[in-house]
């Protein structure tokens, strides 16, 4: 296979880009630093959805739910003083400089629990039904966030006073928090990459391409899909906890359908089944939102048009997102150079 050399070069390129990002960011202004951090957070969300949409071929329209529950869980244990046990645990771990680990542990655990339960209900369904079930289960989470005001503060949302320190090292400033986010992002990217390269990941691709054949070969389709769902939920939870820490505020709009659709669009825009593509999608959408909404008040109108134009173009020309265009060019280039292939 010629795969390995190309694959190694790709990894070097991606690592190079992020090393460059780590070097450049300190020289950017505060607005851009914050934007880059936000892109990384949504990049994790989009990557996690890519496991489901790109690799397994399951279009989930409720991915903001796992993001949201983790986000809410971490916000609640940081602020809810009347919940004695969780709050005492938080202050205790925080005083030891381990508050972040506690937040991630609980937040991700909650995300895993929700995705395990919702996935159990949803995986049986196919195609459109899967999409609608994930959508409506996510609406349950939104409904809880919106109406269960005893816990979630309802429409007002939860304001978090500050970020816990990491081993006594303060993350309150934008730049240290950026590096923290970048570290978590690279960890997620690495783990997800290993998952997609593993036999398990290959099986997911097989299921996406030919479900019946994989079933005949003796693979447990249900279990593979279910595990993919939980993995996606887990990393979505990581993104959720980071979002609370980044934004220091969580409210129902962060959990709603629009966020789920946006995650789906980031994957479709960047290129499904590429891991890096969805991050590019997240970068484009988030930067556009930040820049365009300064100058134009009609952002949703523009966002809607971007959705339609992108999908129309990609379907009419038969490419999958931005990385899909790059691949198409490279393939035709390679075909010209080596006609025998």
């Amino acid at each position: 296979m010629l795969g390995t050399a190309i694959e190694r070069r790709r990894i070097m390129i991606v690592l190079g880009v992020f090393a460059a990002l780590a070097l450049i960011t300190p020289f950017l202004d505060l607005f851009l630093q914050s934007l880059v951090t936000e892109i990384l957070v949504f990049g994790i969300l989009a990557m996690s959805l890519d496991i489901l949409l790109g690799y397994t071929g399951l279009a989930s329209l409720g991915h903001a739910a796992y993001f949201g529950v983790a986000s809410y869980a971490s916000a609640i244990i940081m602020t809810k003083k009347s919940w004695v046990v969780t709050y005492a645990m938080f202050t205790w771990t925080d005083s030891a400089g381990l508050g972040l680990f506690y937040l991630f542990f609980i937040g991700v655990l909650v995300a895993i629990a929700f995705s395990a339960f919702f996935g159990y209900l949803a995986i049986r369904a196919k195609d459109v039904y899967f999409l609608m079930i994930t959508l409506s289960l996510a609406m349950v989470v939104w409904g809880l966030a919106y109406r269960w005001s005893a816990v979630t503060e309802g429409d007002n949302g939860i304001i978090v006073p500050g970020r816990p320190s990491l081993f006594g090292f303060s993350l309150e400033e934008g730049l240290p928090f950026f590096y923290f986010t970048l570290a978590i992002f690279l960890l997620c990217l690495g783990v997800l990459y290993l998952i997609t390269q593993s036999p398990f990941g290959r099986t997911l691709v097989g299921i996406r391409e030919r479900e019946e054949r994989m079933e005949m070969l003796g693979y447990n389709i249900w279990l593979h899909k279910y595990l993919a769902f939980i993995i996606a939920g887990t990393f979505s939870g990581v993104a959720g906890v980071l979002w609370t820490l980044y934004n220091l505020f969580i409210s129902p709009p962060d959990v709603e359908l629009i966020t789920s659709a946006e995650a789906l669009f980031m994957v479709a825009l960047g290129g499904p089944a590429t891991l890096v593509g969805p991050v590019i999608g997240a970068a484009i959408i988030r930067s556009l939102q930040q820049f365009v909404s300064i100058y134009v008040e009609r952002w949703p109108l523009i966002l809607g048009s971007i959705y339609i134009i992108t999908i129309m173009l990609s379907r009419l020309y038969g490419v999958d997102g931005i990385l899909g265009i790059a691949n198409k060019f490279r393939r035709s280039f390679a075909a010209e150079n080596n006609p025998k292939d």
Partner: protein
Amino acid sequence: MVSLSIANVIELSYSSLSYASLLFLLASGLSLIFGVMRIVNLAHAAFFLFGGYIGLEAYNIFYGTASIMPRLIQLATWTALYFAWRGLSRAAGEGRAALGLLSAYIITEIVTSMIWDYRFIELFFPVIKLQKIDQVNFLALSGAIAVAVIVVGLGGMLIERFFLRHFGHDTLAQVLVTIGFAFILQDGSLYTWGGDNFMFEAPWPFNQSIMIADMSFPQYRLFMILVAVLVGLALLFGIERTRLGAIMRATVDDPEMARGIGINTNIVSMSIFAIGALLAAIGGVVGGAFFGVYPGLDFEILPYAFAVVIIGGLGSLTGAVVGSLVVGFMENFGTALFPELSYFALFAPMAIILAVKPTGLFGKG
């Protein structure tokens, strides 16, 4: 947990029934579009909202509180644009025609804004100031429904013809494009009609309430039930008893065979999408006196429409009826009994139904 008296239960059942009627108007279109075309239309609730606004504007025009001129000018501008495009693209090719028209537009926009304070874009997309209407009658309501039905139906037709047709059964593309339209319709209506919450006044005799033994029954809710029953019967009759319905059913069962015997399935798809959209528009106008009409209403009711079709099963008329009733009662009783968890009370039974039968109670899938 609140305990309910018998009178409460009767009143709640009445409002649940009327709420279910509204949900039926919304969800039957969604279900129809899915059943025939396998399209999950996330813009469906936006059609509902858009229908509400169009009805409201028609109301205003009937009572002289808004002018019809901007709309006539809009129609004329778009017609002129269409013919200019046709002429130019024939003479100079499509690319050059588009470039020419675009630069002509930009120059005009700059010139007009320099000479006098006018935004040229309002010729194409007018901004309408609406007023609250107090005096109303039944005729105006029917007129408003008719206008909304025509406009939204035509709009749905265009969306199907120029966008959704290209995607076949690509669910992801359909979802993202329809949600794109949902954003555009939502923000477009905010641009056109502003962000105020408008309430329709129910026309006489439906603005009264009947009082029976200290229980009040607003008659408008009866009207909603009536409309839903009429629409449901019309759909049932249309699908089961007419030639058009037979063509439609043939297209659903075997599109290739239908094409083979000379049915134009493209036109069938277009009409089905238009019918689904206009059902939502009827719901929007009728529901305007119930929910009010305001930006964001669409994404608020969309989950209910999905709950209905998920419980009842996509693509089944019986399913839409049963689903509407289940959701209507769940929502009203849930809100009365456990206000904080009403959403949960609504979606939890849905999850159970799904776990047992993923295609919904009456779904064929």
